[in-house]
Structures are given as structure tokens and as C-alpha cells.
């Protein structure tokens, strides 16, 4: 009689994968969003240095996406 080995996935592991995806994907997303804003901010700053403050704030606005991801990851794990 053949013995059947049962493999089950560890829920803790799945949670960890979910949390990883939440941070990783949102990180990529905010990176993509910040790319254009950041280069535009640098462009504007090259001509007018006083735009540094505004440029910096606008550049980090997409950071919210990855912060949400981090929150979700913390909630999951």
C-alpha cells in the first residue's frame, strides 16, 4: 500500500509572501510614479532654484502608495 504524503502550506509563510508582495509592488509603483515627477522637478529647479521646496514635496507625494503597502503588510503579518 502506497503511502500518501500530505503537503500543506504554512499559513505563516503565505502571510509573509502576501506582506512581501504588498510592500514590493507598491514600492515599484511609487518608484515609477516618482521617476517622472522627480526628473521634472530637477528640470524646473535647474532653471529656478527657489522651486526646490515645491519640487521636493511633489516628488514624495507618490510615497503614500508605498506607505499604504507598508501598512497593509503590517496588518497582514
Amino acid at each position: 500500500m502506497a503511502t500518501e504524503t500530505l503537503t500543506t502550506m504554512d499559513p505563516a509563510g503565505l502571510k509573509a509572501i502576501g506582506a512581501g508582495l504588498a510592500v514590493g509592488l507598491t514600492g515599484i509603483a511609487s518608484g515609477i510614479a516618482e521617476k517622472d515627477i522627480g526628473s521634472a522637478a530637477i528640470g524646473a529647479m535647474a532653471e529656478n532654484e527657489s522651486l526646490f521646496g515645491k519640487g521636493l514635496i511633489l516628488t514624495v507625494i507618490p510615497e503614500t502608495i508605498v506607505i499604504f503597502g507598508l501598512v497593509v503588510a503590517l496588518l497582514i503579518s
Partner: protein, 358 residues
């Protein structure tokens, strides 16, 4: 890297634009540059100043560096004229050097206007035996051909040498037919080549912003054709051979429309124009008994500037805001030159005001 790109593109016309197009960076920077263009309110103020005051005003504005640089060689009106030219060249070559890939390619195509302008200047200079200094004064090295290269060409003694100096450029196939007499014909062909090149550059992509750019460009062609038509009609020329002067590819005025318009008398031409959308722009200044075309021309140019600005709001991250800036910059330089030259020739304020495109 960019130098390498430029070098590569310079040698073969069909070279594809290399590198990633940095639209966000270029448009944001160009918009910041546009904020430094003199506002409308400045011109009435400039009109009330004397030449020395204007010189000082320009010397303290964006043109400071250029004025300082050239102050050793020139003075007075000539100094301002050269500073304006130099600033235009520096600004436009800066656009070329801050852009990459696709943007760089399109700006380069647009700036070929200056390359062609410079080649024409040199050939005209040789045609009427102008001195080297006179030719060098009129060069605006804002395109892909560098000032060193152009000034080298200008020192050549005959037009044959100039043309053989341009052997490696894309203009050679047109220039090689120049025999010393058909200058206007060659100039026309060069202009047509410029527009053909622009159309080719635009047709490469089907994206929406490129279509908008094409529309913007074709409107420019319409304005140019209309101005030529007005001048021809005013001078009572209805020779069908003049169709040579017209540029193909207009937006609202197709070649066959122009062909019809060109055979009419001035009165009929004006009344026929009422059927075209541009009539709204010029309706209150164009009439069959008008004496001067200045109003019509500045109205049309103003219309083009306005439409460029509104186009650039439709696609903020595209080539259009950059073209809008280039148009505005050129216009600013033209206006300043007009004021300073007008004042130097002691024209009345009304005449100068009429000519300004604000």
C-alpha cells in the same frame, strides 16, 4: 553620451533617435524657462524708454551675459542686436543639449530652420560679395551646425567651396544644383526640404501628441502661405508659377485652395477668404482697400502664438510646450530687435507698435 548621439545623428539623416526620451525633465525645464520670457506689459514700458535706457534694461535682464560678453566688440544698437542673436543661439542649443532621444530628435528637426537660414546667409553673402565680417554678423548658430563650422564656411572665397564644405550634410543634394544664378530657387527648395523633413519626423509615430504637433506645424504652414498670398496679391501678381513659393501640407488651406486663390484679384481674394477659418482672426483688419499688410501679418502671427499656447495645455508632457517656448522666444527676440531698431531709425511709436507681435 549625448555628444556621441549628436555625432551619430549628424552623419546620417535617417538615424533613429537613441536613448530614452526625457519629456518630463525637458518640458518642466522649458516651462521654467518660459516664465522668464518678458511679459506683455514690458513692451509699452520699453516703448517709452530711450535707446540707452532700453540697452540698460536688456543688459540687466536675461540677456545680461550676452551683452557683457559682446560689449567689447560692439556698442549701441549693434550690441543689442548681437546679444539677442547670441542669446537665441545659446538658448536653442541648450534645448538640444538638455533633451534626449525622441525629444532631441524633434527639436533638432525644428531647429534645422536655423541651419538652413545660415546656409542661405552664407550663400547670399557670397552672391553679393559681402565681407566675412558682414556674413559672420548675420549668423545665428542655433541649429545642429556649429558656429565654428559655419564661420569656417563663411571664410571660403567662392560659393563652390562653400557647397563642397557642406558635402557631408543632408543639404548637399539640393545645394549641388546651385550654379551661381538660381539662388532663390535653391532657397525655396531648402525651405521645402525643411518641411518635408519635419513631416517625415512626425509621421514616424501615431501617438496623439505627435498628431497635435503635426497640426500645430501645419497651422504654421497655413500662416506662412497666407502671408505670402497676401503679399503676392497686394503686389498684383497672379502668375501661376508663384505656386512654387507655397508650402504643401497646410491644415485648412490645401494647395488646390491656394491655386484657386492665387488667380483672383485682391478684392475677390479678400472676399473669398471669408470662407476660411482664418477670416475670424483678420476680419477687422483685412479689407479690399487696405494700404499696409502689417496688421494682417502681426494678427496672423499673434494667432499662431495663441494657438501654440492653447495646444501646449492639451498635452503638457509632449513636444508641443517646447515648440511653444521656441516660438515665444523667437518672437521676444524679434520684438526687442524691432523696438531697438525702430527707435534707432527714429520711427514713430505708432509704427513700431503696429509691427510688434504681443
Amino acid at each position: 553620451m549625448q555628444l556621441l548621439q549628436k555625432f551619430k545623428r549628424g552623419s546620417s539623416k535617417k538615424a533613429k533617435p537613441k536613448g530614452h526620451a526625457n519629456y518630463a525633465y525637458t518640458t518642466a525645464r522649458v516651462r521654467a524657462m518660459k516664465s522668464k520670457i518678458l511679459p506683455k506689459e514690458t513692451y509699452p514700458r520699453l516703448m517709452n524708454m530711450s535707446i540707452n535706457e532700453i540697452t540698460r534694461f536688456i543688459g540687466e535682464s536675461e540677456y545680461k551675459e550676452d551683452v557683457d560678453e559682446l560689449a567689447r566688440q560692439y556698442d549701441g544698437v549693434n550690441l543689442i542686436e548681437h546679444a539677442l542673436n547670441r542669446n537665441l543661439a545659446v538658448t536653442f542649443t541648450k534645448l538640444l543639449s538638455i533633451s534626449e532621444g525622441d525629444v532631441n530628435f524633434l527639436i533638432g528637426e525644428e531647429l534645422k530652420k536655423f541651419d538652413i537660414w545660415n546656409i542661405k546667409t552664407i550663400l547670399r553673402g557670397k552672391y553679393c560679395n559681402a565681407t566675412n565680417e558682414e556674413v559672420l554678423d548675420a549668423l545665428v548658430a542655433a541649429g545642429r551646425l556649429s558656429y565654428t563650422f559655419l564661420s569656417d564656411l563663411a571664410t571660403k572665397t567662392t560659393y563652390e567651396e562653400v557647397i563642397s564644405g557642406l558635402e557631408n550634410t543632408e543639404y548637399y543634394p539640393v545645394l549641388k544644383d546651385y550654379d551661381g544664378t538660381n539662388l532663390s530657387d535653391i532657397e525655396n527648395q531648402l525651405d521645402k526640404m525643411y518641411y518635408a523633413g519635419l513631416f517625415e519626423a512626425v509621421s514616424g509615430s501615431r501617438s496623439k501628441d505627435r498628431k497635435l504637433f503635426a497640426k500645430f506645424m501645419r497651422m504654421g504652414i497655413d500662416v506662412k502661405n497666407l502671408i505670402t498670398l497676401f503679399r503676392l496679391k497686394k503686389a498684383n501678381i497672379d502668375n501661376p508659377g508663384m505656386m512654387n513659393l507655397m508650402i504643401d501640407g497646410g491644415l485648412k488651406l490645401k494647395l488646390k485652395d491656394i491655386e484657386r486663390l492665387i488667380s483672383l484679384s485682391f478684392e475677390d481674394f479678400i472676399s473669398e477668404l471669408e470662407n476660411y477659418p482664418y477670416w475670424d482672426v483678420i476680419s477687422d483688419v483685412a479689407s479690399p482697400d487696405m494700404v499696409s499688410l502689417i496688421n494682417v501679418e502681426s494678427r496672423l502671427k499673434k494667432y499662431r502664438l495663441k494657438s501654440a499656447a492653447s495646444f501646449s495645455h492639451v498635452y503638457p508632457i509632449s513636444i508641443v510646450p517646447i515648440m511653444d517656448y521656441m516660438l515665444n522666444k523667437e518672437n521676444e527676440v524679434n520684438n526687442l530687435r524691432l523696438i531697438i531698431r525702430g527707435k534707432a531709425a527714429s520711427l514713430s511709436d505708432e509704427i513700431i507698435k503696429e509691427q510688434l507681435v504681443i
